[in-house]
Symmetry: none
Subunit: 204 residues, 4 copies
């Protein structure tokens, strides 16, 4: 008579393992850089055998993809939390200020890993899943909708797309470059004007 057959044994063990492996991958990546990262090293760092690693990931690309996916998901979580609290009661300015803060915070989740993923990575064949992309998109678009009246941009989809690119570029400029130099300090306060400027620019 078995009571409480533990809980979700297979799945759970699997999840934990997957995370252990991704943690190891992240660690090795950060410690040695992409060029010197290899599956054996990752397995070792995860405290398992390569064979086991291949039980959870069919190949190296899947591993990379999963790590990126997890990283972006974590960023998304942080970002959506903030975005959810934007109720349109605030001004366009204050709402986007919050959004940008959230995005910057999101980019600081695992900054070194983020840098590797952004800079050192052959993005070959490994696009971020469309679902994640879509949710980032939706979060931004949601805020835009709440301020439809104050925005001059004709098409909200296009505006969202443009904003997404702008924000990513500017935030990476702030986050990726080492401390010192032109960027970090002085670029940060320019992001909001750029966003608001674009959204409220007079259109002919």
């Amino acid at each position: 008579m078995k009571l409480q057959p533990r809980k979700e044994p297979r799945q759970a063990r699997s999840r934990a393992m997957v995370d252990t492996i991704l943690d190891a991958m992240s660690r090795v990546l950060v410690e040695r850089g992409y060029a010197k990262t290899n599956t054996n090293l990752v397995a070792e760092s995860a405290g398992i055998s390569v064979g086991s690693l291949y039980q959870y990931f069919p190949n190296k690309d899947a591993l990379i993809f999963a790590l990126r996916e997890r990283h972006v998901t974590r960023m998304l979580a942080l970002f959506e939390d903030v975005a959810a609290h934007i109720d349109g009661a605030g001004s366009l300015n204050s709402d986007f200020e919050a959004l940008i803060d959230a995005l910057v915070a999101a980019h600081l989740v695992e900054p070194e890993l983020n840098r590797i993923l952004e800079e050192e990575f052959p993005a070959y064949n490994l696009p971020v899943s469309t679902e994640i992309r879509q949710r980032f998109f939706d979060a931004i678009r949601g805020v835009l909708e709440k301020h439809r009246g104050s925005i001059t941009t004709p098409d909200l989809d296009v505006a969202t797309f443009v904003l997404q690119r702008m924000l990513k570029a500017l935030i990476n400029a702030v986050v990726l470059t080492g401390p010192g130099g032109l960027s970090a300090g002085s670029v940060r306060p320019e992001i909001l004007p750029a966003v608001i400027g674009y959204l409220t620019a007079p259109r002919s």
Copy 2:
């Protein structure tokens, strides 16, 4: 009486060879992607032996670096041509329209190569030479200076830096994405408003 028939052997032959090799590199890169590009293939595609390739480039990285450098230099040439004709007589709007056109044109020099270079590359290991960067920077800054009066951004250096990032991100969005999708057609006309919006945004 012979007019300089001499010949310019060394330099000339070398230049031609270097270009032949870079052309081959570009071809292979575009055809097979970075991951499947190797020096033997490049040499073969250039119609020379690996040995010869290594007579002109000390190693694979130097080859990639040189290709990027050549590509960016070509883009810069196109861009500077246009930028040079902007004399400040036009409006901020029309001048930046011209600048954006030039930049888009520059990004269409070798679009597939450009895509590989932008997307598949360990940017980290292969920074574009600072001279090229600086000249792009100067060209943009030059236009800003001519319109200093109509711009609300306090620091022109920072503004240039921000613009550079914004422009690169948006133009890539236009240029890099395959046909179809949101981008190309609809994003293009948004670049100018984004730029002008940022530069003329009211500051508190």
Copy 3:
């Protein structure tokens, strides 16, 4: 009741493998000479893949070094066995006769390999480990000490050093040269007089 059937997997397998590889290295070296020896050939001759070879030796030099070390260790073993039996009860003459016999025997362990190792090698890059050297030195010095009284050489360390060089040179002369020629037969009996002559030479 099973008596320690356990198994000694890692170490044991590793040892065997290392020996298999060194055997193969030795074989290839003897068959083709150093210049024509390469890791692929060694792996093939060992009946393993190159990859496996590199699991046991980090690079080609380590392989050569290990082979030399093993060879010299085997020679040392043979030599020490004999040297251990020299108790000083015999005459200087008879003791060194035994020592020389032991040394010659030691040099005949794997004569062809020995020849390659002695003649074809960048000795400079591959010094024999100092421990081995020291033990050869000690064995000789031990015998000298037992006959301190009959030896005219003032410094035993120097004498040992000189003897080591002399013995190596003369024994190699006997062992290394192909059959026929002056050496083998007629040089052998000269080694003892040379040694004894040196040790007992009247000093001014």
Copy 4:
């Protein structure tokens, strides 16, 4: 009407060239070590083209062989000069003292080159020419003959052979090891006792 067609044009030019090349080879060898020496480098250092180098030497081995040969010949010249002055009027002791001095001097002709040639060299297929060997042999044997009466060694050929090996080993021990350490200072004065001891050892 041509007078004085220069003198020995072909030969002379050839000789000079050969020496220039060997000098370059020696220089490169000493500067970079055997492993990093290659024909292109040698040609460059000689101030000629590789093509020209191959006009004078059919292949790399011939180059190495010639260099060794030249080096050994120079050593021989120095050595024979001294040996020629030994007229048997002196004692066995003093004559061999002179001989050893000459040999040491000979080994110091181009010490770094000598070291490379002795230690860093795969001697594969490249024995010193028998003529040179023979002349070294004859020089030593000549001295022995002059002291036939005071020597106990039965066969002079064998004695010469043995002496040659002993001397080479001991002198290299003195010459090759860097300053400091056991060797240089203290081994040098042991060479003569070793030689005399061998030659005058009482025989049963």
